[in-house]
Amino acid sequence: MLFNSTSFLIFLPIVFILYWFVTNRSLKAQNCLLLLASYYFYSCWDWRFLFLLAFSTALDFFTGLKIYEAKNIRWKKIWLAISVGINLGFLGFFKYYNFFVESFADFIQVFGFRPNITTLNIVLPVGISFYTFHGLSYVIDIYYDRIKPTTNWVQYSLFVSFFPLLVAGPIERATHLLPQVERPRVFKYHQAVDGLKQFLWGLIKKVVIADNCAEYANQIFNNSDQYSGGVLVWGAILFAFQIYGDFAGYTDMALGTARLFGFELLKNFNYPYFSRNIAEFWKRWHISLSSWFRDYLYIPLGGSRKGLWMTVRNTFIIFLVSGFWHGANWTFVVWGGLNALFIMPSVIWKSKNKSTITVAEGRLLPSLKETGQLLLTFALATFAWIFFRAESLSHAFDYIGRIFLLESDYNPFHYAELKGSKLCLLLLIPFILVEWLGRENNYAIETLGFRWPRVLRWVLYALCLFIVGMYMHTGGTEFIYFQF
């Protein structure tokens, strides 16, 4: 079930009404309802993988308790190793089995062997990377005594599988979400209205921006050998907005939906394309994953405490692992490595980037220097996205190579099949403008029209709905991050 589907349009109000009108007197009933709704939501993809979700949940619930109850550090470590091993084992099998087998076969072929390999037709369970990381953060936090385990099975299950975040995050922490699951929720008018507005803006990002850009980005990437450098640059830019609209749009819809039920989820995007360097970009893009790797990998590895070269090493490790987390393909690993490379100036010179301060804060326009920084950062991020989107490394290198060929007819709108991408340009301009004006808020339209009379504000939201109706892409594409 997609957030932008008709079935969700029916599912959401039913759960909302049952939640606030039928089960509102009992926290237990509310949690049970949300858990059932979440399992139903997940089963709409493939009910068979519910068992995997339930098993993963049971494993972390049980090992969490065992780690807490363990009398000595040795047993704590054993239970942690069991949980981490099984979780990563499942993730590795479903996501990376074929990749490792094929890579191994390719490797030994270099030495003249002709291996008779067998790959399996493995279906990747939707959201496995996300709920595995939910569970891992829970047991690791118990191991480090940051939290106490819950003894309530329903509450823990809901923490892992709460439907707004189940399939594409944000990757929640037990320290943040579990207390919200444990305490009674009170309906707050402004929170619910805010949730609806955030959902609406997420919907625009996904169905208007991402899906329209996707049509032409796919056309250009899938036929890159037929286009000149100018067109390929346009294709990369379209993909940059496709992936942003797709993932940040999903996150906005997830956060908005959660707010309708009285939950506040972690912020996952903070206007990443308005960053002044790649270090800042990574503090604004997929924040819940970046911070997960920071807390559970980078810091345990020593972080930046053991000198420059260890910092460089640790930075490369987390970016390469992050790349690999995205998918079983060398393209993702190179994408991660490139980002590590781009972030090096900030690491080596320890430039205190102003990542917590919004660019041109309190001003309408950025300075000339800031404009240059924004454009350079966007160019670097977009360059790296080419590897993320390409089918293979050779495809990515060929794509980049062709960009630098001086071929005529660089204008994408000269190609009949790309003429429609003019609409993307027309949609992107106001979209970027609204995002820029709203960059100091949680989401771009949060305070847009805040002081206007109600009727004008409603006209604004109604026009947003009209934009969805008139410009949503009708081909329909799934969310990119579902595959991760």
């Binding site: 606030w20 309906f187 609409l423 027309l426 109604a462 026009l463 009708t474």
Partner: protein, 317 residues
Amino acid sequence: MKKFLLNSTLFSCFASIIYIASLLIVGKLAPTYLKPNLPAGFERRNGFSYTRYREAESTTQKDVLFLGSSHAYRGYDPRIFEKAGFSSFNLGSSSQTPVQTLFLLRKYIDRFQPKLVVLDIYPVLLNSDGVESTLDLMTNAPIDFSWMRLALTVNDIRVYNTFVFSLFKKLLSEEIQEQSRYDGVDTYVEGGYVETFKVITLPYNSLKANKYQLNENQYEALLGIKRELTVRSIPFRIFQAPVLPGRYAKATNVEHIDSLMAGLDTNYINFNKHVLWSDSLFADDSHLNQYGVDVYNKQILQLLPAHNAIDNIISKK
């Protein structure tokens, strides 16, 4: 909570008004590329849906009702059936799939009270989402609120927008102008038929291998059509009109579709198999020309007695 529900309801009403107003303004004033989900180009386009559905509104009681895609309105000539003593009407429309057929059947069955219904199946369309045909119908036919049912069945934003736009255009008395009955190639013939004397120019190079598929919605609609007619005790036939032999030969799974249709127990006939069709009987790779229709319709008239269909018509007369 009360405030939230009240404001949500008020906003829904308010947003609907703003949406409709925006749709009418953009629909009237914006260039085509700025209104992707209000597709243009369906008004009075070939197929003569505009003329056909207006004629249908003023027609009653026919012996035979034909339904289906362009293969229907280009393949069943009411004049030939009239000569054989049967009145008929052709409710075919461009790219019509069983989903639209079921809707049209429910809408017009009481008006026509047919004694036989013939559904022409073009297997390519059995896997269609039905959007194109619905847009054609909603733009050209005299629609009312009951067409919402079709919009909900197809469930596509372009269909919803076109439905609202056409409906309000009609309420604002902005009907499109009368359509000419001759467009330079095709002639609209009373009874819903479209006549052409064009002959295909060969060799025809754009023929590709084709595998037919039947999607669940279309199959459900076929069952719905059968149910609707069974309840009313109206005999129902499914025919597959001939296509250019070279094209038919490219389809790789005709037997699969034939067995599915035969399974519906409707005396299904695939006329591609029945006669050796000469290329000169076709207007293009998919449709018969008038010479072909003459042959085809005579074939039908010869075969119907064997299917007890004509007896049924005569007995009810």
